[in-house]
Structures are given as structure tokens and as C-alpha cells.
Symmetry: C2
Subunit: 210 residues, 2 copies
DNA sequence: CTGCGCTCCCTTACATGTCTGTAAGTGTTG
DNA sequence: CAACACTTACAGACATGTAAGGGAGCGCAG
């Protein structure tokens, strides 16, 4: 252990505004926004520090490396999305599918969370990219959850028994990824919520047992 | 005009391998691949020149600026896709929709063309990004073409008359964008052609007059 | 309660690499 | 000799990261 260790959470109590972890949180907040706008390669530690009012070395002090910071930012994003959208996964399979537009409403309300994911993911499509494996793992995990939901619906009789659950899961994933791209590219012309509602409606028509 | 002007095509005859435009073409070829892998920010002129066997300044000599080169590369990509896929847009509206999986087959056969677009587009989602407007224009143009096809199908009686042609066009665009992301992220697990075929089938079921 | 030192958080200074771009020079060819 | 297609040399931004130092707050010995 040659490097000085970044500060760890010492208290689990709610932290006051001036606590040691406050800077850390403010850095993550700033990085969340800046990475969403500029991507990993378009955002420097200097810019992140500037937004917080510190030098880029202070950022390094807290996170050790730029890559580390981005990793923590990505994890924080996942935590927030889960926090906001966890409820949408509860309920019957039909309800879960019906709740898909909640993702759209979150993306419209807090575009940064989705944009960060979309932009950084695109920078890591290459197998050699630093976070490629992370994004693949996230994709597989989400796909697995969706497939479980569909399978459960098939077993319970809510959905048609002749579906390919994996295929349905893929279709949903593909739609979500594509919708985000178009929303951010041309938000004035793309009504994300309407798009989600149309997709959900058509999907339910196809998969619900009639 | 203070800057030296890059060489222009002098002959419209097929160019021999040693002609002045040969280097230019080889640069575009190399850039096509490298930008697809690394994106605009991950790919330097030095790397492009290296692949061709020249210095980065020779690249600048031919294209004036890095931005210019990328612009030409994007245009070249569009030309190639049009060349490969133009036929798929001919025929009746139903046939055009049925031909969507041809895009998937092209993406599988020549992943670079699609990957370039996906990766660079994601780097230009921000309104301030240098090519943002170009990608928006391409999106709108494609959307418009798709909407025309759907409208034509509605008028001709092939498709249901109560469709929202713009909405259908959006759904197709969203699917294409999303499918590319997932294909490049996890090609081993994503069967792009099957995905396209499933999507096309479901779409036709929904929009064809029964 | 004083003052000493330790740790934490941050700073400046510096090293190093990469990227775009300018300027000037060189060899080849007609 | 003039244009072309390069080259080397160099400049300026910006990126990450290392090293060293400084000040504020504390804990504790005297």
C-alpha cells in the first residue's frame, strides 16, 4: 500500500453539510452531470474540480484515478435509478410491462441519469474499452430480470405460452436503448413518453394471452 | 483563402493505385475503421496516418483538419450504406418494411459502417457537439422517408388507415438505433438478424390491414 | 491551557503523453 | 523551376498522474 488511502465513510449517520464526505459527494454530483454531457473522453478532472471549486488533484485525492471516479459515478447512477424505479419491478408480470413508461418519465424528469449511461456506454462498445465488461454485465443482468418476468407471466397464464422470453427481453432492451439515443439527439421532436406508451401497448397486445 | 487547398479529383476515370487520390482514399479507409473502434475522441490523426504509413501531417495536408476528415468519413459511410441498401427502399410499402432485416444483414457483414455511425452519434448527442446538427438532420431525413413509406401504404390500402405514420417511423428508428448498440456491446449473445426479423414480423402484424 | 505533532484535505509545481495545427523544408516529377 | 506530396520541427492545449508542501483541527503530554 504505497498510496494514501482515500477517506472511507466513518459514520453511517446522515452527514452534515461540512463533513469530510461532503466534497466527495459534490464531486460525484458534478461528475454525473459533466460525464453525461461530454462523455468520459470529453470530460477532464480539471473541469470536474472546477465545478466543485477545487483543483483537479483534489479530485484525484478522493478517488485515486479518473477511471475510479467514473466507476463510482456509474455505480451511483445505478443506485439512483434503482431507487427511483425499483417499485416498477414489483407486481405481476403484466404490471411490470405496463410500468415501462415509468422509465420514460424518469428519463424526461432526470435526463442526466440516462444520458450518462447512453453516452458512456457508447464510448465502451469496443471490447478493449475500460468499462466494456461492466456494461455487458449490466445488460445481461437486466436482460435476465426481464426474461424472468416474461417467463413468470407465461407460467402464470398471463402471457401467451408460445413466447420466446429471451427474445421479448431483447426487444425491450433494444427499445429502451434506441429510445434514449433519439430522445437525446432530438428532444424537441421525440416524445419519449408517447413512444414508450405506444411500444408498451403493442408489446402487451402481442404477448398477453387472449 | 490563406490555406492550401486539398487536392481535388481531377479525373473521373477509375484511378490507378498510385494516383494522387489513392492516399486520400486509403486515409478514409483507415479512418473509417479507426473511428468505428475508438470514436472521434479516441482516434488521433497520428493513428490514422500510421495505419496508412504516413505522418499525421500528411493527413492534415489532405483534409485540412481532423473535423473535416471525420465529416468526409461520415459522408462516405452514408454513400456506402445507400449503395448497399438502396434497393431495399424500392418496391411497395409492405416490401420496404419486409426488407428491414437487410439492414441487419449488412450490419453483420460490415459492422464497421454501423459501428462508426453509432459510436460517433453517441459522442454528438450534446447540442454543442460538432456533428450534433448533422446527426439530427440525418435522423429527420430518415424519419421522413420512413413516414412517407407508411403514409403511402395507408393510402394504398396496404396498411391500416388509422396509423400514426410518424409514430411508426419513430418506432422503426428507435429499434434500429437500439439494436446496433446491443449488437456491438454483446455480439455473442445478440442475434441481430433474428431480432430484426422478430421486430419486422410484429410490426407488419400491427400495421398491415387485415 | 498550552503547545506539539499527527492526520486530513487540499494546494502548487512538475512530469509526461497525446492531440491538433502551423511553418518551413525536401525530394520527385513534369 | 514550379507544383505536389509529403517530412521534420515545433507550438499550444489539455489530459492524467506524482511529489511535496501547507494549513486547519484534533488529541494528548506537560
Amino acid at each position: 500500500m504505497a498510496r494514501s488511502v482515500p477517506p472511507t465513510n466513518r459514520a453511517s449517520a446522515p452527514e452534515p453539510a461540512g463533513s469530510p464526505n461532503d466534497t466527495r459527494r459534490r464531486i460525484i454530483e458534478a461528475a454525473l452531470e459533466l460525464y453525461a454531457d461530454g462523455g468520459q473522453r470529453g470530460t477532464g478532472l480539471t473541469a470536474i474540480g472546477e465545478r466543485v471549486g477545487i483543483s483537479h488533484n483534489a479530485v484525484l485525492y478522493h478517488f485515486g484515478s479518473a477511471r475510479n471516479l467514473l466507476f463510482e459515478v456509474l455505480q451511483e447512477r445505478q443506485r439512483r435509478v434503482l431507487h427511483e424505479l425499483g417499485w416498477a419491478w414489483k407486481g405481476t408480470p403484466t404490471e411490470v410491462i405496463e410500468n415501462l413508461p415509468a422509465t420514460a418519465r424518469l428519463n424526461v424528469a432526470k435526463p442526466g441519469l440516462a444520458k450518462l449511461f447512453t453516452v458512456v456506454q457508447a464510448e465502451n462498445l469496443d471490447p478493449d474499452a475500460p468499462f466494456h465488461d461492466w456494461f455487458v454485465a449490466v445488460r445481461r443482468s437486466t436482460r435476465s430480470a426481464l426474461r424472468s418476468v416474461v417467463s413468470k407471466g407465461m407460467r402464470s397464464g398471463e402471457f401467451r405460452p408460445d413466447l420466446d422470453a429471451g427474445q421479448v427481453a431483447d426487444e425491450i432492451l433494444v427499445f429502451i436503448a434506441g429510445a434514449e439515443v433519439h430522445q437525446f439527439l432530438d428532444p424537441k421532436r421525440v416524445d419519449l413518453v408517447k413512444l414508450y406508451e405506444g411500444f408498451t401497448e403493442a408489446l402487451l397486445l402481442r404477448i398477453v394471452r387472449r
